[in-house]
Amino acid sequence: MACYENDFGNPSSVHRYGRRTRVQIDEARDTVAALLGVSAASIFFCSGGTEANNTIIKGLAKICKDRGRHLITSSTEHPAVLDTCAYLARQGFEVTYLPVNEAGVVDLQALEEALTDATALVSIMHANNETGVIQPIADIARLAHQRGALVHTDAVQSFGKIPFNVDELEVDLLSFSGHKLYAPKGIGGWYARTPTALQPLLHGGHQERGLRSGTENVASIVALGKACEVAARDMHAEWERLQHLQQRLEHGILESIPNARIQSAEASRLPSTTNVAFAGVEGETLLMSLDLQGVAISTGSACSSGSLEPSHVLKAMAVPETHLYGALRLSTGRSTTPDDIDYVLECLPDMVKHASMA
């Protein structure tokens, strides 16, 4: 609120009001950079994860098109990546969509076989938004770099939730989004090891060192900085707390509901996401039943998508048809308590029974 009331200067302005907001943005940038273990000069702000993914993938493809017109991504990416790759495919780029195993982890063998000297970019998400499964980004990066390709990871789901830094991941580019770590919606950004190698999406006043023109969303950038500060401070404690809640929830579901299947159960996952599928029930019906009881969850069910297609992520994982239509994503966060978990465990079994035909 202080941003709106007192610090309304345009950061591009030379006068004192501008200089003040410029400093605020720089401080926020420092905090974001610190969370990733990189220099502030490699962090750029924009309107969110979608814009970051678009900027990176399109911006790089354009630069690299003389070197190579081949892009590699996975079959389980967020639509912001998949749709962008599909767009580039229509522009004459060749896109390989790597398969994943039943746990949703990218097939490294397939990556090795797909890489060519014409591969410009490999883009694989760090953690999946539907299942929470974490990809072996460092292994992927090493393989890609051996063939001279650049590596991008969409870290929207993992940033601020699990401890990692860019050096560990060995990536050249990374996307992040604010609202996943309690900053406002409509703010995010990217990390770039060598920023000048990206063609910007937005031209204009040369903000963000020419890579993202447009007057900065100062209040949201400041909020993102604060959110990163809090996330860094509480990271380990939250991670442990959420893991306990996840175990409580998943154990409870498996004990009380027959034929429940937790996706990526044995794989390395975010502690805050549980993707559970029930046999013979439909996801949107469960979602509405839970909503009526005050529980807000998500489903990738076919019926709830405009296209009537079930989740592309679950399909890529070969989730059996018996369960494909009855998958729910339950996400936890700072406000989730053990009582909340118990409440869900109380209502869910009857809802599943009620929604099933048997």
Binding site: M288, S301, M357
Partner: protein
């Protein structure tokens, strides 16, 4: 997204269950989204006197099934044979465009049930 009528039929579906024995039965499926509907009818003379349904489907499918069983009771077999998806859709206060398949599913179920009855009569 859903009309109040749909929400009501979702929260309080009418005529859920099985009729055993039934005079006519059908099970239909929509392969696109995996929705399944079962319909059971009791028929007296040439009128439907009781109808029950079961469904594995989204709220629209549940509401469509529930509404259709209400509409079917007291219908003549001839009327039921002409049962149209638009009638269910209208009775529900209109389904969202991407949920039209639920009304189609119900129409298919009714047609299949009538065909099942005719087959039983002739066989």
């Amino acid at each position: 997204m859903y009309s109040e009528i749909v929400q009501d039929h979702f929260e309080h579906p009418r005529n859920v269950g099985v009729l055993a024995p039934a005079d006519a039965e059908a099970e239909v499926m929509n392969p696109a989204c995996g929705d399944i509907m079962r319909l059971y009818l009791k028929i007296d003379g040439d009128r439907i006197v009781e109808a029950k349904f079961q469904t594995q489907g989204c709220p629209a499918a549940i509401a469509a099934g529930s509404m259709s069983t209400e509409m079917l009771v007291d219908m003549s077999l001839e009327e039921a044979a002409g049962f149209k998806r638009d009638a269910v859709d209208a009775a529900l206060g209109g389904l969202p465009p991407q949920k039209g398949h639920s009304a189609v599913l119900v129409e298919d179920a009714v047609k299949a049930a009538i065909a099942n009855y005719r087959k039983r009569q002739s066989g």
